[in-house]
């Protein structure tokens, strides 16, 4: 039973993490290849503050705050450069983050931080907290999608120049997407740290960023149910098939490439093409 509880918690945190990237890349169209950085910031904040004696629940908002603040700063890059270069920039931020962690002893350096814990919850209790947080974030995403913010994000993702001619302050909306998405990644990171009770620089590197991007793309960029299902399944794979854990970059990177090449709409796109072949794009909203 312990194994199932732990797996469910892992899956739930992955779904939360994928949903946070989906907000930036799926809803608003801003690619990020460094999203694991914000998972890491959230994890390190909660770990360090926890060691300093702060209660677990008090560290959660602080994890989100710092991740979101740094996320907004990284988002500034999206105002200056277009898609392909933004991918390179965010990737660079990811390498920078891991590089800094490795160098700093007070951040645990190469060895990482172990013995994190003291969430005060039982394993089952913690699983319920993770599931509840993920459900709340999924609901938030669905709400955003249905709000005017979602409509603007959708337009920015398709054609930001035209959005400007419609009077939309595109830079502020992009920053909002980055701030919200990275803050939620910080929340996922805080849960992650308390779940594994150990974090190190390798947990938040390029491989993790590619993995989460592949979850979003496989699920169908922008589709909340699609991303939930894809993230849940893909995060469980390494537990079921040992070798996938060993070749993560190859497997998730390959998946990412294949999806981009053959079905840019992801699973959600495949499904709607299958069930509704003529009218795929004629819907009011995705």
């Amino acid at each position: 039973m312990d194994y199932e509880i732990s797996l469910l918690t892992t899956m739930s945190i992955s779904v939360l993490f994928a949903l946070s990237l989906n907000l930036i890349t799926g809803f608003c169209g801003q690619i990020s290849l460094g999203h694991a950085t914000f998972l890491g910031i959230g994890a390190y904040v909660t770990a360090l503050l926890g060691k300093a004696g702060l209660p677990f629940l008090a560290t959660l908002p602080l994890s989100m705050l710092l991740a979101g603040a740094i996320g907004a700063v990284v988002g500034l890059a999206s105002l200056r450069v277009r898609a392909d270069f933004l991918a390179v920039t965010t990737m660079g931020v990811g390498f920078l983050f891991v590089g800094i962690i490795r160098q700093q002893d007070w951040l645990g350096g190469e060895l990482g931080i172990s013995g994190i814990g003291g969430s005060g919850l039982s394993k089952t209790g913690f699983m319920l907290l993770a599931l509840l947080s993920t459900a709340a974030v999924a609901a938030l995403c669905l709400y955003i999608r249905a709000s005017w913010m979602g409509r603007v994000f959708n337009g920015v993702a398709e054609d930001e120049d035209t959005m400007r001619v419609l009077g939309i302050d595109v830079p502020r909306y992009k920053l909002a997407a980055f701030a919200i998405g990275t803050a939620l990644a910080g929340l996922a990171g805080a849960l992650y740290a308390h779940h594994l009770q150990f974090i190190g620089p390798d947990s938040f590197g390029f491989v993790e960023s590619v993995t989460v991007l592949s979850m979003v793309v496989v699920g169908g960029i922008g589709s909340v149910p699609g991303v939930v299902i894809a993230a849940a399944l893909l995060s469980a794979l390494p537990a079921w098939f040992q070798f996938i854990g060993d070749y993560k970059l190859l497997v998730y990177g390959g998946l990412l490439f294949l999806m981009m090449r053959f079905s840019p709409g992801g699973m959600a796109g495949l499904m709607s093409r299958f069930f509704n072949p003529v009218q795929t794009s004629a819907k009011g909203e995705r």
């Binding site: 709400y143 955003i144 249905a146 709000s147 005017w148 913010m149 409509r151 603007v152 959708n154 337009g155 398709e158 054609d159 120049d161 035209t162 400007r164 001619v165 419609l166 009077g167 939309i168 302050d169 595109v170 502020r172 909306y173 909002a176 794009s281 004629a282 819907k283 009011g284 909203e285 995705r286």
Partner: protein, 279 residues
Amino acid sequence: MNMTDQAVAPLLRIADVTVRFGGLTAIDRVSFDVHPGELLGLIGPNGAGKTTMMRSITGVVRTTAGGVELDGVRLDGMPIERRIRCGLSLSQQLVKPFRGMSLLANVALAAGSAKTSSPLKSLLHLSRREELAVAREMLERVGIAQHAEQNPAIQPLGILKRLEMARALALRPRVLLLDEPLAGLNSKEANALSSTIQDINRQGVTIVLIEHNLGEVMRICSRLVVLDNGRKIAEGAPRVVMNDPAVRAAYLGGDTLASAAADQSDTTTACAALGGQHA
């Protein structure tokens, strides 16, 4: 009659605007005023710089020199979206509908500008009932309401041009900038839409109209500005401007003849309009 016009402060003032693209001077020290309530025609042969002029007013292209003022407020240095929120609105020559949504949703997105002025505000609003109603009204106005639920990806140019105009109208601008709204329409549709443009103008919206269909321009515009090779070559009442030898030469003579011949439909409309004036 011009005396009273000049007594009123201009709503839009273009002062010595120059736009260069690398070595090419697309706009060369052009100045003109747009008075409140008027329907100004901005005409000239292909490549004269009309579109570039409109894009520099809205900030889509940056001016190399000169300034633009709306109701006494300098727009230079402002990003596009702020200029739009000051009361400008642009219906572009190259149509760019959002293909992932219906015609109605396209226009509703523009109609929601009050709810999208900041991310926080947009997050607090869900309903778009009012915006859909406005959007339907705008689509009706430009005569394409029967296509409201369809996707722009499958529409011909004539419908997309009108969609573009409906979207610009939905912003409820003080100055509406229309870049070839009649393109892709047959003569009956063009006639109906230019009458609509005239109606909109009579309801108080100041309009700058770029159009190659000179017959319709002569019918509805109260004043014309003519560009050629990036320079303003004439300005004034339509009949006077059309009889100006410099304007006739720009349309028919010299090096523009070759490029005009390439685009035959434009040449024939231009000739027809000028001929009509002559007779």
